[in-house]
Symmetry: C2
Subunit: 493 residues, 2 copies
């Protein structure tokens, strides 16, 4: 099935909108006008909404899932083209993060062996003093050493690389002094350590942390990076394992399908795709959700998984709390661009490259070999040097080419522009300085019959699939506790 | 409530059997003779059985839990004495292992900040060439360096500390050559590297890996240790984080209670404690479980979570598969002894010690400060130098004292002897050489209406709470898929 989301470009056909995805649900609805009222309406079919929907339907509740897109997965999905999965968003699934692995594959071996994204030669293109970047080539061992050293300088705020100031990453403000680092931007921290960084360390470090935030040096929270660092085990190797080295063997959308299948097989799931929500009205009689097309759905409770950056586009009655409204208005900073390029140089399978600061795609990694035998490169841009890849494909091709000039021709591009995506307005959550201290608790509060849940305000792997599962689990438990019919010990015996 | 399990000793009262635990369930049953038949019977109320029971009851199935003991938690529980939790078995809950954290505490902050088990001076007592151990004192930094170096020598079978030979710890035999290491004992591997180990490295290393296996050098699988190493992130720091540094803030049994509460609140849980099982008979009409007291319970499916080392004590019809029967007959090797000692030396709060090989308790760690202001030491013995702590308390006190002669007096002992425990016959699972290659798949197979599930044969954190949750989740999913009434998409809409 082809989704409306995403873009595909080949030299032969040019740019087309929409790519195939296993996440597309057809037909787009399974309900009739007379169905309902519902026990629960879940707004949003990303991992958080899918988890909540799965847990609610399994627990016996008649649940309606409303999704604005034509597919499940939200900001996280994959496009399988010629049998090869391009991850439109590919969060990590290391051994440290067993949650997603707990969905068994048909062979009962969880997800089975994961495909490591191999990384055998690193190309750093930078230009601290001139406007023409020059290439430095180094082994991956030297690349590791460069980044390890730079990251240790960045994170060593307490003589213990963050272990003292952030002993429990799930509880960011356990040590109240952590607030100081949450209030700092990347730029503030770089400023403190700049005299201790070599030019290559600085270029690589800035490119790496911008790859994490998708923002600018001035608007990305240093504290949020420390949270990523801590939850990855406070080491460079941990960051590689958690953030870079693994992907789903069969692609993201195949994984999302397993939540979906579990929910649908209960017989208690109603769903409507292509159904953006306009209004959520909560009263003593329950919650009413009005779609943009005017249809109204009613339920006892609503779990709202709309991402932070698009929450302001929905009308709430009563209105959003002050904290939530403020956070939604300011938004998070991640304006990451991810461009998949199929290139005709097989030798680049284990290549990595940074071209920074002068290129609109600053970081790239060889991610696999396509069925045609070409190399699949994943290339990232950030808001520090923004690019809208569909607006000028020649510019996009130039930016891809600049990563390793003269090394390859491009056979295919696949990408999705989250920034212009009206249901995302940004990629994975990344905090502004001070935002978490000010808003995290408020974002997690419920409001009457509406429970707000999203990876954007998870406590653990915030911004990752795991955080979405954490939040979906939390929201479903809140609702199940409240709606459970017989609470007595012997009710059904 | 006081459990029959465990022992308590004080100088004033001497040895008593049974200690208080939050895991004791009272009254011991909630069913009548006329209740039943059941959808599912779960045999065993450890974490695996609790997880399966929780998932099944939440999914709408009438479930009967049969437990031989008077409490939940199985081999993993805690005794709260004077408000202080002694972990009778304390597996790790690091940030890497988010599963248990996903059970929210009443304040909705998961388990909230975990209490780190602090570790400021290391005392190594060894005697490579004489029969009288002498003490060497070193900083914890030097202790870390000693163990890090020794563990790197042990694990570096592939030039990459196991990352090449075991790239996916959840899939042990992904690289078929791994079988070679599974076939090796600790002693075989030590033999290969002994010329490269200093005497202190060797003593510390052997004590550490025996602490992991609870067995002897000759009967513990080196491959299983590599699995622990890999799943902990292939680093010494990862091992400390995963195996040593964390415990539950409110104790193990408080955590187990949360699974229990979730199941009981569905109104679909029947249970009988003090109910050891004698026979499990599977036929086309369903499964019948006969308790030792002659009562018979019937269900459509049984999830059997009986640990490997006691499986032979139950009669199965049809009989256990050849592989399962063989594995159960041979058993796993973990005969660990864990003795909690409250000692009157406050300064030992951050003390660690190894006395090896000549003491019956080889490893000890300062684990906390008791309400009386004393230090709580956790002391471990293994089958390499076995001790039955309740049989001769003076010998046990001598072994505790030998860890740091002249440093303290003992005010209290708390322990549980898993080896003599008829429902465990050993502590957490640890493989014999070759056992996993021969038996792991066979142990995971179902047999007709009986699904076998236990952390002992989990794929991920085998032997840990996380592995029990993995297995309970798997078993419940198998059963839910089969028993779900309406599989049609619109069945309940």
């Amino acid at each position: 099935m082809t989704s409306r989301d995403g873009y595909h470009w080949t030299p032969e056909v040019g740019l087309t909108h929409g790519v195939p995805s296993l996440g597309v649900i057809s037909p787009p609805t399974n309900i009739k006008n007379t169905d309902g009222p519902w026990d629960v309406i879940v707004i949003g079919g990303g991992y958080c909404g899918l988890t909540a929907t799965r847990d609610l339907t399994v627990a016996g509740f008649k649940t309606l899932l409303l999704e604005a897109r034509d597919r499940i997965g939200g900001r996280s999905w994959s496009s399988n083209i010629d049998g090869y999965p391009y991850e439109v968003y590919s969060p990590p699934i290391p051994t440290y993060q067993p949650n997603p692995n707990l969905i068994p594959t048909p062979d009962g071996r969880h997800l089975g062996p994961l495909t490591p994204s191999a990384l055998n030669h690193f190309q750093l293109r930078t230009s601290p003093n001139t406007s023409t970047p020059t290439s430095t080539y180094m082994t991956h061992e030297a690349e590791d050493e460069l980044l390890r050293t730079a990251l240790h300088k960045l994170t060593n705020v307490d003589g213990a690389n963050g272990r003292i100031i952030l002993p429990f990453p799930h509880d960011m403000f356990h040590v109240p002094e952590f607030q100081k680092y949450d209030n700092m931007s990347y730029a503030d921290r770089i400023n403190q350590i700049q005299d201790d960084l070599t030019p290559n360390e600085r270029a690589s470090l800035e490119a790496f942390i911008l790859l994490c935030s998708g923002g600018k040096l001035e608007n990305s929270s240093f504290g949020e990076f420390l949270h990523w660092w801590g939850i990855s085990g406070y080491t460079y190797q941990g960051c590689m394992d958690c953030l870079i080295s693994y992907k789903f063997r069969d692609g993201q959308s195949n994984f999302a399908r397993q939540f979906w299948n579990e929910a649908i097989s209960t017989g208690r799931l109603g769903y409507v795709f292509d159904c953006p929500v306009a209004r959520v009205s909560d009263s003593d009689d329950g919650v009413r959700v009005t779609a943009r097309d005017g249809r109204v759905y009613a339920a006892k409770r609503v779990i709202c998984t709309i991402p932070l950056n698009v929450l302001s586009g929905v009308q709430f009655s009563p209105p959003l709390s002050e904290t939530r409204a403020l956070a939604a208005r300011n938004g998070h900073v991640n304006m990451c661009t991810k461009v998949h390029a199929e290139v005709d140089n097989k030798a680049m399978r284990s290549w990595t490259g940074i071209t920074y600061p002068l290129n609109k795609l600053c970081y790239a990694i060889g991610d696999g070999t396509t069925p045609a035998g070409n190399t699949h490169l994943v290339c990232f841009g950030t808001d520090a040097n923004p690019i809208q890849p569909e607006e000028d494909v020649r510019e996009t091709l130039r930016a891809v080419g600049e990563l390793a000039p003269g090394e390859f021709g491009v056979k295919r591009l696949v990408f999705h522009n989250w920034v212009k995506d009206e249901f995302a307005k940004g990629a994975w959550f990344f905090s502004r300085p001070g935002m978490l201290g000010d808003c995290l608790e408020g974002l997690r509060e419920r409001s009457g019959g509406v429970v707000f849940a999203n990876s954007d305000w998870a406590l653990g792997w915030r911004s990752f699939i795991d955080g979405a599962i954490e939040e979906g689990t939390r929201a479903a438990r809140v609702v199940v506790e409240e709606l459970r019919p017989g609470r007595g010990v012997r009710a059904c015996l």
